[in-house]
Amino acid sequence: MTKLKGFAGKILHIDLNNLTHHVLPTQDYYEWGGGHGFGAKLFWDLSEDIEVVTDGRDPRNVITIAGSPFSGTNVPSAGGRCEVTNMSVGLIPRNRFTRSNFGGHFSSMMKHAGWDAVTVTGKAPYPVYIDVRNDHVMIRDASHLWGKDTHETQQIIQEDVASVEVASGWNGQLDGNSFGRTTQKASVLTIGPAGENQSALGCLIHGAGNAAGQGGNGAVFGSKNLKAISFIGTGAVDIADPEALIKARFKTRDFYAADIDKSAEFAFPSLGGKPEAITFSTMPTGHRVSSCHGCVNGCKQRNAIGYGNEVTCQTSVWYLGAVRSYKFGGNAKLSLAKTGVELTEDSLYAGDLANKLGINTYPIMGLIPWLQKMHAKGELGSGKEIHSELPYERLGTREFADQFCQAIATGTDIGAYFINGIVPGIQQLGHSADVDNGTLHYPYYGMPEHGYDPRAELEWGYATLMTDRDMNDHGLNWIYWTVNLAKLEGIDFPIPAEVLASRFVEKMAPYVQADEVSAMDYASHNMYSEVLARQVQWINHYGRFWKNSALMCDFRWPDCVNTHREDLRGATGNDEVGEHVWWNAVTGEGISYVDGIERGRRIFNLDNAIWALQGRHRDDAKFADYIYDHKMTHNKLPTYLWPATNGAGQWDYREMMGRQHSREGVEEWKSHYYRAEGWDTATGWPTRSLLEGMNMKDVADRLEQAGKLGNEEV
């Protein structure tokens, strides 16, 4: 087997039906890049019946956890991300092959142990966990771990792995015939009770709070009787050109490092930004920033209070509203006494709780106020229309959070209604209208709004419709946090709208030409345009390779505009510090930035072929009714500015509020998109000529066999 630079060279296939493992040579998958590319190709190769599996909890589901050549290296904000791919649980109108992603040290340790990815098929006859120590792979009985929370599970496994001590602080691990040593702990990815109970809300947890939950992958582990996967390795990543790598690091610092003396940084953290914990609210005193492997600007934290570690972003706010309303309800004293820290601590407690039980907090956050209202209306409670014994009058307390999370994780009490997801649960309870009319913000595929309304932030909605999930790609979203914060702060935003739009468009090769600035024009008269379809095509293909496969972190990449540099040009596509520079330094290949995007196109088309086999059709790609039927109003938001032209073609930052999507308009936009991709506009399925042009004749054959091949445009 040829050892490829940057790659470990081996993919671990675990067959749980037979409790065996096999080694797949990475070389067979090299062209798919890593991460998502590996996951999609492995899903294609190893799935017995793509067409008939309709739920991710089917034992035939294939789940892959994959690193990339960057995993375990010091490529900035790319060394520790890890991609998870599997058939989903709990999405509407149907489940589909989907993805999620988490950070930390799992993918790097997997690489250090000598593996690029682990892919799991089948179902174990009893609870097991996978214990990998360099080349030594064990499928072990997990009955002592079943029922344990995610933190306890990791600790037990880590203590077991580290039991071979050769010297204080150093752990010895067998590595073939020799004995490797490391000071590191095993990296463990595990489920908690939510996954064990196969809840669609179950997620995977690594470390204190690195989570992958989108698509119900916790339930997938649970359905396979798989509690955890652990890696410890004493190796390193073989870099093709270490000097080029280090040079690019220094160049990145020269170009983009934050100037600590310039405090007026009103930009979304970009490459070179200051490390900062992105935990919401007043941080408890005493915390330090932590990061994923090799990240130059960490965004997580460790707290002196001993809990809430790595409770960041969404997980730190899911219970916040309830805590605030409970604490401050009618109590002037608390507010006057400035008890913000106490409030944050309760939110962190709830975040920790969700992480321990392995619950995906995004979907449950919107449920909390809904439950509160149903209870107040007398429709929810003991013996009520929706029966539940939880103490709703104490919603907002730690006690309620404990009971609620237990119910969700175990599928008991109120959790029984939501074991298949929030929107399916709401529908089952006869309250679909609350999803349709926007009382609940789940605008696409039964998934919660990320925080950016698709009526304003067009690319977020469109890219989600064209893919499998809430796109969770903050590449263009940088604009929201710069332009709008400046406006709210009364700062005259120093970059003219057309210049900003141009800087983004410059990076959108090969789909948008550098002078097609209209690709960033979010005016209502341009919202269903063909050029906007190509912009989203760029997002999807860029994302599929550079972010989901090469595993560059979404919080830092793409770096389209960077205010740390005078000409505002970010690192993306740059020939000294761009994505391809890192790729080439690590792997020894000689690809261009656009070559990477082309690889993303191929991966994305394999995804679409899988979706087509799974029953996906153009008609699936719809927003919830409220996105079409109701205007986005100012009732809680002062502004949503975005670069746009007026009728006379003049650029400015213009207001996106007050508009809604039209069904016809979205359909028109979809047709543009399908044409841009070369998909059948009637069905959204890929065509033979398209697939064969990307060397995927076998994929075309299989689609044809299943009657799912798109018609060629005449």
Partner: protein, 117 residues
């Protein structure tokens, strides 16, 4: 301010009396925030080091007047709303106004407890 009035403006509201606002937090985005008391609003409007409050000032004025039942406070917010300052400054101007009202109510309801008055 009478004790009845103090009690009224500091009461915990019922669920259909909420003020719907939002919190802006990057990168999580914009998320709804339902406010159920004046004290909760006072906490909310201060924002945090890493987040901003987001509220429609016209709706706020209406909520204070019609739901909380404090026309004096509503008028003060109306004054702030008309000022030619940025949104964050409007929020900042709101804090002491609401705080003074809360202190007043607190001093009427708890005259024995001077620590927060």
């Amino acid at each position: 301010m009478t004790p009845e009035f103090a009690r009224k403006i500091t009461r915990k509201l019922t669920l259909d009396e909420e003020l719907t606002a939002a919190i802006l937090r990057r990168p999580r985005g914009i998320f709804s925030c339902n406010i159920f008391s004046l004290a909760e609003f006072h906490y909310f409007i201060q924002g945090t080091r890493q987040s901003l409050p987001s509220v429609n000032f016209s709706l706020l004025e209406q909520w204070l007047s019609e739901t909380i039942g404090d026309q004096f406070l509503a008028d003060q917010i109306a004054d702030i709303e008309t000022q030619d300052v940025c949104f964050i400054d409007k929020c900042k101007l709101t804090i002491p106004v609401v705080e003074a009202r809360l202190r007043e109510a607190y001093s009427v309801l708890h005259p024995e407890n001077q620590d927060l008055i």
